[in-house]
C-alpha cells in the first residue's frame, strides 16, 4: 500500500514539474483555462486575492436568500484561470461564474451557451498585487459529466504574447469557435 502511495506521489511530482515547465515556456500557445470549484475554502490566491468579494457575496446569497447553511464551506462558485510566469512577475487571468454574468437562454429549445462574465487580470510580484483590472470574458466549463457528447470538450482558452504584453481569449462550445468570445486585453 505504502509503495503504491509513494509511486503515486512521485508521479504527481513529475506531472507538477512538467506543468511548471510548460507554463514558463508555453506563453505563446493557446492554453485551456483551468477549472476551479471554490466550495472547499483554501488559502489559494484565487480565493483570497482574486475573487474574495465574489465568494462572500455568493455565501451571503446562499445563507440569507436560499436559507441554506454552508457549515464552514463556501457556496457553489466556480472559476477558470490561466497563470503566466514572467521573470519575477506572475500574471493571473481568471473569470468566475457569478450573478453578474449573462448566461444565455433558459429554454427547452436552447443549447449550451457560454456566459459573459467578469474577467480579472492581476499581476503579482513577491506575493503582492502590483496591478489589477476587471474586464469581461467568456466562461464555459465541462465539469458536468452528463453533458452531450459535443460539449464534453467545451473550454475557454488564453494566449499571452510577452512581446506586446497582451492576453488573447477564445472559447469553443460544441466544437465551434464563438466569435463574440474572441477578445484581447493589455496586461498592465
Amino acid at each position: 500500500m505504502n509503495q503504491v502511495l509513494r509511486a503515486a506521489g512521485t508521479l504527481l511530482l513529475i506531472m507538477g514539474a512538467g506543468q511548471a515547465i510548460a507554463q514558463s515556456d508555453g506563453n505563446s500557445a493557446w492554453r485551456a483555462m483551468t477549472f476551479h470549484d471554490f466550495r472547499q475554502p483554501s488559502s489559494d490566491v484565487l480565493q483570497t486575492v482574486v475573487w474574495p468579494d465574489v465568494i462572500a457575496a455568493a455565501n451571503a446569497y446562499t445563507e440569507n436568500e436560499l436559507k441554506r447553511p454552508l457549515k464552514g464551506r463556501n457556496a457553489l462558485v466556480t472559476a477558470l484561470s490561466s497563470t503566466y510566469q514572467l521573470g519575477d512577475r506572475t500574471v493571473i487571468i481568471s473569470t468566475a461564474l457569478v450573478r453578474g454574468c449573462d448566461s444565455g437562454a433558459n429554454s427547452s429549445g436552447a443549447e449550451i451557451e457560454p456566459s459573459l462574465c467578469p474577467l480579472r487580470i492581476l499581476v503579482m510580484k513577491a506575493g503582492k498585487v502590483v496591478s489589477s483590472k476587471t474586464e469581461h470574458g467568456c466562461y464555459i466549463d465541462h465539469a458536468d459529466k452528463d453533458l452531450p457528447q459535443k460539449n464534453r470538450n467545451d473550454s475557454s482558452y488564453t494566449r499571452f504574447d510577452p512581446k506586446t504584453g497582451t492576453i488573447a481569449l477564445r472559447t469553443v462550445v460544441g466544437g465551434k469557435e464563438i466569435p463574440s468570445c474572441q477578445r484581447s486585453y493589455a496586461v498592465d
Binding site: A105, D146, L147
Partner: protein, 232 residues
C-alpha cells in the same frame, strides 16, 4: 461493393452514430415526474420574490412554465436546461447554488424562487429597461410576459432582437423567437386565472396598483401631489 456504395454505407453509419450519441444525451428526468398546472405555477410565482410589476401578469408566467416544461419540474432537455422554467446550467449554479440534478429535485417553490431572482436581476439590465419603455415592439404589446420572455431567452440574445428592431432578430436553434415565446406563454395560461387589477391598467414601469399605496409610497420627488403630514 462499389466504392460509392461503401462511402455511402460508412456515411450512414457515422450519421447513425451521431444520432445515437445525441440520443444518449437527450432529455432526462431527475427525481419524480410532475405535472403542475399553469395555476399551480402561477401560485408559486405569486409566493416568490419576483418584483410586483411582473407578478401583476403572473397568469402568463404559469403559462410560460407549462410551455417550457409541461409542468414537469425534473425534466432536463439533454443539453443546457432543467426544471419548470428550464434554467440553464450556469443559472442553476448561480441562482439555486446547486447542480442540475440537485435543481431538478428541488420543490416547485424553490425552483420558482431561484428563477424569480434571475428574472429580477435581468429586469435591471439596460435592454429590459429599454423594452419596458416601449408600448409595442414589432407590433407586439410589450407587457410583463414579453419582458419575462426577453429575460428567459437571455438578455444578450434579447439585445440582439431589440437592436434589430424585429422579432426575428434573435431565434434559438429551433427558430423560437422571444415574441413566439411570449405568445405561447399567453396561450398556455389557465383560462380561469385572474391577474391582479393592475394587469388591465398598468404599463411596464408604472407605479404598481395591485398593492396598497401606504405599503409602497412613491418618493416625494416623483409624486404628482405632495401632502405634508400636517395636511392629512
Amino acid at each position: 461493393m462499389p466504392r460509392f456504395t461503401k462511402v455511402c454505407f460508412a456515411l450512414s453509419l457515422a450519421v447513425s452514430h451521431i444520432f445515437a450519441s445525441s440520443a444518449i444525451a437527450q432529455r432526462g428526468q431527475y427525481c419524480e415526474r410532475t405535472n403542475y398546472s399553469a395555476q399551480q405555477i402561477t401560485d408559486a410565482v405569486r409566493n416568490s420574490s419576483l418584483r410586483d410589476d411582473l407578478k401583476s401578469t403572473s397568469c402568463s408566467l404559469g403559462g410560460l412554465g407549462r410551455y417550457e416544461s409541461g409542468g414537469n419540474k425534473g425534466v432536463y432537455n439533454g443539453s443546457c436546461c432543467t426544471g419548470i422554467f428550464q434554467l440553464n446550467n450556469a443559472n442553476v449554479r448561480k441562482y439555486a447554488g446547486t447542480d442540475r440534478e440537485g435543481y431538478g429535485c428541488l420543490t416547485l417553490q424553490q425552483q420558482v424562487n431561484a428563477w424569480a431572482n434571475l428574472t429580477n436581476d435581468g429586469y435591471n439590465t439596460g435592454v429590459v429597461r429599454q423594452l419596458a419603455s416601449m408600448q409595442t415592439f414589432d407590433g407586439q404589446k410589450v407587457d410583463a410576459g414579453f419582458l419575462s420572455a426577453c429575460i428567459q431567452l437571455g438578455t444578450g440574445n434579447c439585445q440582439r432582437m431589440v437592436s434589430s428592431g424585429r422579432c426575428s432578430g434573435f431565434a434559438d436553434i429551433n427558430g423560437t423567437t422571444i415574441c413566439d415565446m411570449a405568445r405561447s406563454a399567453r396561450a398556455m395560461t389557465d383560462p380561469n386565472c385572474k391577474d391582479g387589477e393592475a394587469s388591465c391598467t398598468q404599463g411596464p414601469g408604472d407605479f404598481p396598483t395591485n398593492i396598497g399605496v401606504a405599503a409602497n409610497p412613491p418618493t416625494a420627488d416623483i409624486a404628482n401631489v405632495v401632502v405634508g403630514s400636517s395636511e392629512v
